[in-house]
Symmetry: C2
Subunit: 229 residues, 2 copies
Amino acid sequence: MSAAFSVEPRAPATAEEEAYRHIQRALRVGRYKSGERLIPEDIAAEIGMSRMPVREAFRRLASEGLVVLRPNRGCVVAGLTLDELNETFEMRSVLEGLAVRLAMPNIGEDEIDDLERLLDRMERAGQSSSSDWVIRHQEFHGSICSLSQRPKLIHQISALHAVVEPYMRIWFDDVDKPLSAREEHATVISALRSGDARHAERVMQDHILGTAPLLAEFVTPNRTMNTGR
Amino acid sequence: MSAAFSVEPRAPATAEEEAYRHIQRALRVGRYKSGERLIPEDIAAEIGMSRMPVREAFRRLASEGLVVLRPNRGCVVAGLTLDELNETFEMRSVLEGLAVRLAMPNIGEDEIDDLERLLDRMERAGQSSSSDWVIRHQEFHGSICSLSQRPKLIHQISALHAVVEPYMRIWFDDVDKPLSAREEHATVISALRSGDARHAERVMQDHILGTAPLLAEFVTPNRTMNTGR
DNA sequence: AAAAGTATTTTTGTATCCACTTATCCAATC
DNA sequence: GATTGGATAAGTGGATACAAAAATACTTTT
């Protein structure tokens, strides 16, 4: 498999970086639940550092929308209202659509093969845990995005994905149907095969917008605890 | 004029917030130039606080792409390579296109009138300083975006705008032609008048993508000092 | 017994301090 | 004269200390 898409597994250069990754991972596997308060001192003790780098990590996570920070009131894990969930998918749809369109010139047989392998891997992961499935799912989407060769775009999309990941996990746990998911993503691949960039863009947009309603039921209706409490 | 679009002028609740705004404003008016190193101690002294809140403000600015932070090497004002400039406009084009599409249902005669007033204001500001023009220009675009009623989308677009503002300022200073700019934006307004959301989306996309080449000459070619030095 | 006010504890925000990394400058060497 | 090496200065990252704010528990009052 070509190493087009890889997340750098470098060791953290600073404590802040370590704290950032630690919390990010914890959020990813669902260790912290939406609305939960994150106490800097506890996390610092967990990793073996002082509160300070953790605070700074909070800031970064906050501007990515993963946590909410209010003055003198600490840090809580962000939750999405229904409106915010939809908004996130709207943004992802146009950004990933763009990514697909720009990626098209860089997509050949090899890349399609890679994606099909990722699709298999995603399905296999779905057998074991929803957490694994979601991670593979992100890998699939991320792999397409990375073919666009647009670092900022890739980063932005991945940040948006991270925000909705918890809900995808819950959804996957609840309805456990990798079936429809596989077909959906196969559609995307065949759109890539067509070679028509605008067509593929539209298919990706539709695919993403189609996902939002599925998660709607797992989100707090509206105007509640989106900022924590 | 309807107060659909307003930047909250609240007093900063924390020192970090104050530092953030201070630096953001300084970047906006071009007080710090691209590639320049920001020394936390100096800025802290300027505002009358310690380095710590300034450091935290750096993190926020970094994740918005306004500065670059490297371990043990401090904070430098971000500059864009040509690729990054184009990428930023690509992202803005689809996001602002989305904003326009979603805003359409909320646009009536009153809103159009407001926008025309803003267009006038923008032109008048163009007479005095490029800095004022750029700010009014952002106000115009921001006003349209805010009609979409999508907070996260609005914030994201405004962050992308902030990154290219310095180059728009330089461009405006160099070629000083509010003429073409006015026509361009009038086109956007008439697209809004059409009531066709998809059409308006496309017009906005084209308007934004058309801007990128104008700024290309003011950007460091490629692969140079995008991270500082 | 409920409500309001008060005291206590917890937690946050900021300043200061120390260790370590990076940059600068100067001299010695080729 | 240019280059390398090393001393010195400057700056960064992180920990601790302290003050202010918020949350909590506890009275007191009605």
